[in-house]
Symmetry: D2
Subunit: 313 residues, 4 copies
């Protein structure tokens, strides 16, 4: 892995990032940080960082690209990959791969479909994936953290236990989802233990640089940073497809439309994205739109694909 | 435009098509033709054709690739493009761009969202697009037919008025959708006139060769066969994005997963697909799966992307 | 039938009615007339009339009790009785008897339940009843009018064809319901012909005196004014039960709570109610609450049961 | 209170009960006991008992009328009355009074209506009532037990802690409901503590004689057996109205239709019913129909109202 300082980066990506940051910096109105957890609400909405990682580990960045932030739902991509690597297609009997067509924590569709969540990125689906990874490893959150540390090359990555505790205290809706699926036999672990794993996993703090690097296996068709295989080529394609169709809550269609890349957002304001075979990206800015996606983050990715022509379409 | 006979085609695509046809030919179990219209139910489920068109108009084909079939919902892509070319982004105030998360003619979501359909490929959304094109042209179905004839270079393409009459006789569900949206002010034309346009448009008969060529503007980033511009580059990307996220009814996620290309299916058994910048495809086989997509068609596209590596992911 | 002038009525009911009118007259804030039809919107919200009919045809009244108004959904009770008298329990295979738990013209529940409406008083259910009566009589609206004239002893009762035409012009939602049920095979007649019957039936103008008398068969356990039997005792009980559980749109529970009588309201501001074995009532005041029930009408019935103790509970 | 042996009872009610038992005894096909709890599944489906209590405490009975059974949801009536007696109309801001129009533990409607259950007899609504009674008394289940013992004159009534433990072990769906409403701020107590109260309350074992007597306050317009007032006359009417419109899960309309009395059923096979001012009833037979109501119980109540003419309609 070669991390390059922003000032000495190769012209192409670095120049693009600087133009994006410049453009974003001149745009007012960036939405509002998530308000339901004090640690998120306290973020400065003017923060903005963006990083691009090439498959060989070269990283380019701009703005607050080395500042750790709360990854939240961005981690759902990694947990999905870690479980898929272990159990393969059997996972898809417990969680679907279709867009939900509903706000991200709706119970309605779950009831229609007998406790099988539509996809692994709505909260219900992510709970199922964590539950299964927990059953297979005994420590889902620990597996995730070890993976992120290894892929980013940053051993200081860690949980934010204050955030996890805060989420637990406001966790009634996720508890309802988990108990509801348990009633259908689609959750194996005791609900309180599952929620503990789930909220710790969401609490990981990492920077744009860390996450762009950790996402690299999706640009490398399944290979980890050290060249070993995490996912088959087909599985890597599956994860990219789910990100494109389901990665940004109820705005996946608009995201595909504007950005045209597989992506996954979190309420901490981070978004990761993949240009298969070419590079991975992470952008962060805490102000969210009404559907829970970073306003400046989506705008920055839109600019990136417009400037580089690197959309999948 | 250069149409090449199957036997003299350039090796790459032609060889791939022949291997696919061979593989499909050895696979039993191809689903059942749509049963609600006699003309569709009478199709031979063993029919199979596939064509690939390059941006310059070169076409490769295999099997029943020159046999006309009932295009049905495949035409929704062209109607969308024709209206988008005329009214631009204003269209998106009347129809969304998000996957529906529900079977293709559900009324539930339409009611939640005040008569604005989720996307232009569910029936409700296609009715809105046809209604708007009708208002702008006075003959939506005629515009579509003229476009398909010009792009395919086949002046014999035509409506199948028996099929259109048969659909009208079973049209209560679409009539319900249209009246329902009219109650919300989202339909301009009288419902019977709109349904007449809509069912005629769905009744067009065309072959795999015709449709692969007619879809070419999406591989050419918006340019028609004669080099004039139909859509802006950004609009062409929009159409591709909607096809990827919403083009195959309630199986868009699985299609993205297996095939990984923008595509649009119809209950006549046809599917069109796009490799942006590289080629367009059309496959046809009348046997459908339970979600209304051609069983052999999806399998053939899956083989195509596996053999060529041409997925967008 | 003995119609008594208000001034010479027997003391009990007459005195109660006068106290009620006095109380209502001193209450400000009576809601707003239905706005979607000009003829309804033009009503004076201060209008108020109330009538009580004894099983022998004696009528007491107060205020605008002899003023004709637009009966609207109040007529659904009579159409139900006329069809039930003809086909008996077979009707209940085409329409349910359960409260809808949703606003009165929702499509959602209809879709869940395969085109069988929850009860005969939501619009979908009333369309089914009218459709069936039309099939059996060839003139559903004419049958209704003849019945109302005979039971009220008022041969001048008639349709208001301006109101019917106005409803037809705004009839997209009912057209959607009818086509939707036709798609499930639960409508026999052509939709435009059915809607014509339906809207004419809703357009009948009648007074509180007329309707209190016409409802008499429900207090007489199924006997018409002339002593002939319309419904069996059990069927009369069925109609009363449906009125109590489903007669006031999404407020049936609250109506049972406050009033405690079988009742049926209409957006013209009328409400009919039954004290089985004792009397029938009709109250009219055009101002509606947000759920479509007459504000002063519900208040007057509440006062009536409180003053007389005549609730069924 | 005067409990009369079956053999010496006054002729009217006693004779009716004996004719009903005779009729029921000759009817095959009585449904199946609830299967989700071993203690319920083990019941003999041929068990049948029925009791009628007059307002003065005279009780008539037939069959297994003195056999204790698992009261389950029948207790929701008493918990509602106990809380309504304490907080009055303020309760109705936290739970509605409208039929649910959905199976008894659906989450869909709860989500539409922001965590306010439709009525106090669906599980969500009963959880809210228990939560509020718990807040006011510190021991909701204990209050209920004391009330039932006092009104029935049977100090041996008690919880069945095995049944309560069994329900807790299968309590994921109720846990989901409680957490879901807690997320909307409509639950005050910790969910595990609330569920403990709720399941103990449902586990009370009582006989037809006990429950017919304990329901007496609803026939006495709010007065307890000792003549003290539990509910105002208006509140007693409210409880009867909610029983009639919402007391038998998704079959309230059909129950009103066939029986025509305020009633409340439980999955233990018991049903209580009220003839305001005249008597209260309890019938028990463990075989249930598909909607969770006792097959023989509903049939027996239907016979009762047919034989006595005591329907409210």
């Amino acid at each position: 892995m070669v991390i390059m300082a922003a000032s000495t980066a190769a012209p192409a990506f670095q120049a693009v990032l600087e133009r994006i940051a410049d453009e974003i910096g001149r745009t007012p109105g960036r939405g509002r940080p998530a308000g339901y957890i004090p640690a998120l609400a306290a973020c400065d909405p003017r923060s903005f960082g963006m990083a691009v990682a090439e498959p060989d580990g070269t990283v380019y960045g701009v703005g607050d690209w080395r500042e750790p932030f709360s990854t939240q739902s961005v981690t759902k991509v990694f947990t999905l990959a870690l479980d898929l690597a272990r159990e393969g297609d059997a996972l898809w009997e417990h969680v679907g791969r279709e867009p939900s067509g509903n706000p991200f924590n709706s119970l309605v569709q779950l009831e229609y479909e007998n406790g099988i969540p539509r996809n692994p990125f709505i909260n219900a689906g992510a709970l199922v994936v964590t539950d299964r990874l927990q059953t297979r490893t005994g420590d889902a959150a620990g597996e995730l953290l070890a993976f992120l540390r290894a892929e980013s090359g940053n051993p200081s990555l860690d949980f934010d236990l204050d955030v996890a505790a805060s989420e637990t205290a406001h966790g009634d809706r996720n508890a309802a989802l988990a108990h509801f699926m348990a009633a259908y036999g689609n959750i194996d672990n005791p609900v309180p233990a599952l929620l503990d794993q789930y909220f710790r996993q969401c609490s990981v703090r990492a920077s744009c640089a860390d996450l762009a690097l950790a996402t690299g296996f999706l640009a490398r068709h399944g290979l980890r940073a050290d060249g070993t295989r995490l996912l088959t080529r087909s599985q890597a394609k599956q994860v990219n497809a789910v990100m494109l169709t389901c990665g940004t809550y109820d705005a996946a269609g608009e995201f595909a439309h504007r950005v045209g890349l597989p992506g996954k957002s979190g309420v901490g304001g981070g978004i990761i994205a993949v240009v298969p075979g070419r590079c991975t990206l992470c952008v962060w800015s805490p102000g969210l739109d009404e559907r829970g996606n970073s306003v400046a983050g989506v705008a920055a990715l839109d600019l990136f694909t417009t400037m580089t022509g690197l959309s999948v379409f």
